[in-house]
Amino acid sequence: MRFLFKTDYEQDIQLAKHSGYIWSYGALLLAVLIVPFFLEEYYVGQMTQLYIMAIAGVGLMLLAGYTGLISLGHAAFFGIGAYTEAVLTGNGLALPFMDEPIVFSFFLSFPLAGIFAAIAGIAIGIPALRLVGIYLAIATFAFAIIIEEILSRWESVTNGYSGLLVESIYFGDFELTDGTPFYYLCLGVLIAVILFSLNLLRSPTGRAMMAVRDSEISAQSMGVNLAKTKTIAFALSAGITGLAGALFAHKLGFLSPESFTVLQSLELLVLVVVGGLGSMHGAVFGALFVLALPQGLAILKDYLPTQIAEVPGIEPLLFGLILVLIIIFEPLGIYGRWLKVKLYFQMFPLYKKATFKRQKSYMKSERLR
């Protein structure tokens, strides 16, 4: 057990609460920095994919986990980011008064991908201000379908279902968007996005978001502008997801509307729920889960008796089953389980099973009058 002596208010503001944070996250950082030198190219690609999913996860986590607004349409922002990136760096932006379309450098197109997605986030966020829970989920769902439709119909720009080739980004002979350089780019963006979010969450705007999540009525009475806070959350969430989309475009190399369907939205929601709503760790754990599970299932299939393994649709079935089990037995997701395992080793051998049993607390109505 670690005992923390707090002697300064600074200590509560610090992201690294004690030296243990610096050691463990330092070690993790070192590990992910050197890992491309030891892994085969395929696995470097997989790790890159993991970071991209985690970035999108952080985006949705800010909205669903911290502001309490469930979105079933995040594939739309992902798609807007991806297509913006592909179009701006590829064919370029054709303006009526210009002879040649403008092709953007990656350093401009990448932020623009985030900004366009953020604008789309505001566009859906404002009409959705009065909606909560399932109604909001349905509205965002409808929005995602509209965007998917636009991506497939606006052929002059998106090339529809024929698909759009994504140009690689070169600086001289150096290719940024492939292999190890791309790995570091995605890692860097992920770290930046996580730090930005953590900073926000220890500042007034982040606290306002959590206040809106837990009680709109009292947030409002404390001076929180609900409409503004929700709009910011939508814009930020969509913007970050858009950045992930831009990276994803380069990862895929070829875009088609089929990559940004409702299924992708669902996958993102599963990511944050399974990872653990309301924690940044959850976004990363969730991304790991979403990527590893299908592969794990494929491996598992080899060990199942053929009669079962050959059943069509066994993979989605197992996917669903695991999902349901996690939601029932670990509502805080993988991050919640991680906390328990960590405490187990910290307390060893004195771990009490009841530590995480919900303590007696009073229901809202229990002691009224």
């Binding site: 959590m210 947030a219 009224l368």
Partner: protein, 252 residues
């Protein structure tokens, strides 16, 4: 000197006249209490003042400024804070975070400044923390700083909610049944705090309360409400002996 006035305040919900032509003014520095049987419209008056509901008729002023149409999120900044009858805390956040949200109306916010946690943001955070610590000391909440609200017993939650309202540094604090659900000692503490809020912090108190013991102990003037209408108005002992009031409470 009047801090707050309500003139001819009224609100209808469909056909129900929840509040119907209520007039009162609260003097600076006093403790003003609204009592009345269940469903009399007491909480509704609070919701009108914090602008969660729009008035059907009437007018409210704070410090001479009309607040009848002020947006709800600006009320705290003008100096009115409140607690809720059913406790509305941020359940998944710590006591410290809850109290810091109470500082929200005094914060300057910039998305990118906060995302980068610029030195100015850090400095502001520390200043807010110091203010919050004053309230923590005032309400003896030192043991609970890091606790999540959902793990706290009911009595402590009530105190945290009071603290969160105080963190906004209000001129007028609205307390909706501060003693409901508290045991005898907790009610005693609450009475002391309300008195301290009034005399030491100089904050004007408007409360709704059923416990007449507490009411006579701390309040200067009492308004009795029944079916949304004013029944009586006066010092605690005056209204307690008012035949109309006795009749309303006994259901005569």
């Amino acid at each position: 000197m009047n801090l707050f006035t309500a003139e001819n305040l009224a609100i209808n919900f469909g056909g129900v006249k929840a509040v119907d032509g209520v007039n009162f003014e609260i003097k600076k520095g006093e403790c003003f209490t609204i009592i009345g049987p269940n469903g009399a419209g007491k909480t509704t008056i609070f919701n009108l003042i914090s602008r969660i509901y729009d008035v059907t008729d009437g007018r409210m002023t704070l410090d001479g400024q009309d607040i009848t149409n002020t947006p709800p999120h600006e009320i705290a900044g003008l100096g009115i804070a409140r607690t809720f009858q059913n406790i509305e805390l941020f359940e998944h956040a710590s006591v410290l975070q809850n109290l810091l949200v109470g500082r929200h109306c005094h914060t300057k916010r910039s998305l990118f400044g906060e995302g980068l946690f610029l030195p100015s943001v850090r400095k502001a955070e520390l200043e807010h923390r110091e203010k919050v610590e004053e309230i923590i000391d005032f309400l003896d909440l030192q043991h609970y700083r890091e606790s999540l609200i959902m793990n706290l017993p009911y009595g402590v939650r009530k105190v945290v909610e009071l603290g969160r309202a105080l963190c906004t540094e209000p001129k007028l604090i609205l307390l909706d049944e501060p003693s409901s659900g508290l045991n005898v000692e907790e009610t005693q503490d609450m009475a002391f705090w309300i008195d301290d809020i009034k005399t030491d912090l100089g904050i004007t108190v408007l409360m709704v309360e059923h416990d007449m013991g507490l009411v006579s102990e701390v309040s200067d003037r009492v308004l009795v409400l029944n079916y949304g209408r004013m029944l009586a108005h006066g010092t605690p002992s005056e209204v307690q002996n008012d035949p109309e009031v006795i009749k309303a409470y006994l259901g005569g």
